[in-house]
Amino acid sequence: MYGNAYVDPENKIVNSITANEDPIKLAEFESRIAAGNKIEPMDWMPAEYKKQLVRMIEQHAHSEIIGALPEGTWITRAPGFRRKLALMAKVQDEIGHGQLLYSAAETLGKSREAMTNDLITGKSKYSNVFNYPAKTWADSAVIAWLIDAGAIVNQLANSKGSYGPYCRALDRICAEESFHLKYGHDNVVFLATGTPVQRAMVQDALNRWWEPIMHFFGPPDKESIHTATLMRWKVKMGSNDDMRNMFLDMYVPKIWDLGLTLPDPNLHKNEETGRWEYTEPNWEVFKQVINGNGPCNKERLAVRRKAEENGRWVRKALAKPTEKYVTPLS
């Protein structure tokens, strides 16, 4: 991978990524990744690698924390004690995943407080899908099954990435998510094989969540040198369209199998190419929601702010002014 250390002065994008990097260290770094080795926090790394990883892991952590809110909506009214216990356990898992991911991001030098502040001031993003309301119990079932399924597709791919602490966190997370998926599927199947009212309820939830689910994997990637570099550095492990396709391949047949429909008449698998074809979801809506104008953005951030504020007196009472912060090791 030596060739990549060379910076073409004509190429503005590559230039901006690696221009100020030591070419020898960069070559060593790239050959370590190419050989399938992991990068650890104390290793030398290009500034852009660090920046993109912090952004990605932090967004992932925020998504786990905010993602607990739409599902948490139904804890108080879960149908039956067993489902209530299971939902509480799932929501607790998600918060735990947030903690694991924040710790991984911190190894790159950004403090927990700075990440929290960037979340509540709207500076950093989280998964768009959590800016939609969970209107009925069936919504919580669809989230637990299909949003978690989408997350697992992404997370399994990312766990093969190059940054050690992120991979280790993801291995732990994926193991726990398999319960979420089963729990969600069980809930959807229960409704889909139930009374006509229950079937209508889950179909309605599916109709409402389909566009956010298609948005979940992000807009089609532009073929850019920036993307290519991030792929070579194993920061990005596949294109958004590849991830979406993998998800459709695994879950659309399972949805149809229950006699449920999806609100896209063009959705089908092209048997020749092996790829799914569909109507592009409205990316303008995606942009609107990610920029703060979704149905629940305001509520999600306000709730998060309030939680932080409500915990402050406890933290103050426990604080020891003599303690110093040291970046976590791995």
């Binding site: 710790s103 407080e113 502040n117 280790r168 306000a302 702010r305 426990l318 040291v326 976590p328």
Partner: protein, 125 residues
Amino acid sequence: MNIVSIDPRVTRSHIDENTQEGIANPMEHFQTYEVFEQKKRGTHHIHVGSVHAPSAEMAMIFAKEQYSRRGQCVNLWVVKTADVFATEYEDSDIFDTISDKTYREPEAYKVIDRIQAFKERQKAN
């Protein structure tokens, strides 16, 4: 205006939708502790990650919730990150074994040939 949500817990909290509260101060979330987990008696404790906590006792509570919520665990350690003295990856050549130290490796000791030769000599006598 307070937020009215389909989550009754949110509505009950009377949260101003334009609240500016919640900004965290530096160190407000405390220092970190490194967590070591032992899965089974007789095995090593293995490092599994870190937690933020104001004391070792609190770190232990968080570590238990975060790292031993699932699966087997028989023992946990927490150690202040600041108290861990670690090597640098850049210096990993210090672990290389140089050739003239093979006397420390088990493979350096080959006695079978000598024993065989000895036995044959004995027979010949």
